[in-house]
Symmetry: C2
Subunit: 359 residues, 2 copies
């Protein structure tokens, strides 16, 4: 295996749209949603097994999740877990990872992956990852993975492709924010637009150059600490300086500005599991289209619901259609699938009313 390959898994997200399953101390990526015995994070690590040396896998997460990660991934050494002292979106987090890895290995080739996505076609995925690593090994490229869209989704950003560089890898023409449904339909039909997956590939040098050019303020913070990276005082330095980073996404800070951005067009059964609805779409459907995640669910005159329960709790549902029913020990949510965007609102109201107790 190529020892220059690194994988940075971002797993500090909050995932409040999956409340009450996703909680402040146990966000979505740590949950075994499908009852397979593996959390989304564990499935992410399983997927890259053999593509990247085990010791080159690095978790980037919020300090509060250090315990869960150590528990779910006991094979990791403490130095493979980088703990952000504050939430500053993806650009500072990716910058830290770049400067950190550069100190460990100046020739590093880095893959950045979210920890909470679902990928169904693993062989295809692994082929695409290898191809991406090969691509960035041979040139100073910022490469993102673009997912072939299968519906006019309005919840994602889109990437418009330009000239082909090699099979399935194109120049990026534009990044587009979440479109309205009419525009999303045009995107879908054109064949030129791909979903922005949040998976990136680059060498340590390339991303450090790009951040230095396009987000100099962030670069300055990590560049000033480059001599402590990979040492025992790195965390102390980060704890002191990280919070002063601007809160900004890597897309906005770098991807949309850099000239050397490419997209690998892929199609390997991807879903970002952003909402209960997308979990419903990716779950097995039983009688009448109900997706039941949990052992003892009995449905009568109920259709197209997603019903998630825990342990051996029994749930009897009569007469509900197109609902989310999500039950945990201390919280129960019953909401139409069409209103799942409101879950964040409810979580905010709960916070106002009860503080952090149910979050």
């Amino acid at each position: 295996m190529n020892n220059n390959r690194y994988c940075v898994i971002m797993c500090g997200g909050v995932g409040s749209r999956f409340w009450p399953y996703s909680r402040a101390n146990m966000p979505k990526q740590f949950i075994d949603f499908f009852g397979t015995g593996r959390s989304l994070l564990q499935m992410t690590v399983d997927r890259i097994k053999g593509l990247v040396p085990d010791e080159n896998i690095i978790m980037l997460t919020n300090a509060q999740y250090a315990g869960i990660i150590a528990e779910q991934l006991p094979q990791l050494k403490p130095e493979q877990i980088l703990l952000e002292p504050a939430r500053r979106n993806t650009a500072p987090c990716i910058a830290w990872a770049a400067w950190h890895i550069k100190a460990l290995n100046p020739d590093a080739q880095i893959m950045v992956a979210p920890s909470d996505h679902l990928i169904l076609m693993i062989d295809e995925y692994r082929e695409c990852v290898n191809k991406a690593f090969d691509f960035i090994a041979s040139r100073s490229a910022i490469l993102t993975m673009g997912i072939k869209p299968n519906r006019p989704e309005t919840g994602y950003g889109y990437i418009q492709v330009g000239d082909m560089i090699c099979p399935d890898i194109m120049e990026v023409k534009t990044f587009t924010e979440k479109p309205n449904v009419e525009l999303a339909r045009v995107f879908l039909e054109s064949g030129e637009f791909f979903w922005n997956s949040g998976m990136f590939f680059w060498s340590a040098d390339t991303i450090i150059d790009a951040i230095t050019t396009h987000a100099a303020d962030i670069a300055a913070i990590f560049d000033a600490g480059k001599h402590v990276m990979g040492t025992a005082v790195e965390q102390t330095y980060i704890n002191e300086r990280y919070s002063s980073c601007r809160n900004v996404s890597i897309d906005f800070a770098v991807m949309e500005k850099a000239p050397n951005v490419y997209v690998e067009c892929v199609d390997y059964g991807w879903n970002d599991l952003g909402t209960w609805g997308s979990l419903y779409d990716n779950s097995e459907h039983g009688d009448a289209g109900n997706a039941t995640l949990g052992s003892n669910v009995m449905c009568y005159n109920a259709s197209n619901n997603i019903i998630k329960t825990h342990g051996d709790k029994i749930v009897v549902v009569d007469g509900l259609n197109d609902y989310i029913v999500a039950d945990v020990n201390d919280a129960l949510l019953i909401v139409p699938k069409s209103k799942e965007q409101k879950i964040r609102l409810y979580v905010n109201e709960i916070k106002e009313k009860f503080g952090d107790k149910y979050l």
Copy 2:
């Protein structure tokens, strides 16, 4: 206080229509449905305080509930709790109580009361109870309480009244089983029909005579044991013979046959709490008509639901109308109020599928 007065509280019922709150080991009468800190049984005992000497209150229940009763009513002495070794409906249970009490006090005047009803106007209730005791003290009468109906209820039996004996106490003309809704409307408008409440008054002698005449087989069993009643071997005798009693209600075995049956017409805010719907009717309604039994329920676009939760569990409901949502640790029920009669079916199916685990 009149030391001849006794009160028999029947508290051996199963109450499966209130699943999942009502469980085989914790039926409806033992539950604090209204969150007042008192179960329906405790409220029943509280209500007769001062009307009957404390030591003359007798529980008639199934053996399996001995522990709960001792816990909920620690003031009772063991000899105040009669434990049926089997379920045989109300006639055998009332017969046992009659022979038992007759042995303790041949002049006993007995009130028989269910343990799982709600009564809102306590002063009126107590007045009616006193009047009933006075009535049966002076004559050989079987007296039942008939509730003034306020709606064409099809779930209850009705009593048609005949000649007035004294204010509010009439002869009984007929007992009528649950009517259809057209008939129930006629009953309501006529003013001649009252709901059969299952509350009875009689002297020990009168009910023993009536059972002997109209249900001789049952009488024989208790008459053969009359010398052990009130002694240390009473329970042994009952354990041996009780199961051989016919399974029959006191209404069918005696009330509908005896000539000396009277009804006291009462109106003291009674509800039998037979179903979630009647619990809804008797609960406080908040915004949009939702009755929330439990502390932390948040409703959005939801109306006329009854939502019962436990402890400090939080429940968020969006978009439900006219539903029952009942959540306990190991079970959750979501069913339209209009289908509450099906809960028994569901409970049966759960039994078939999972045995007694969730019952």
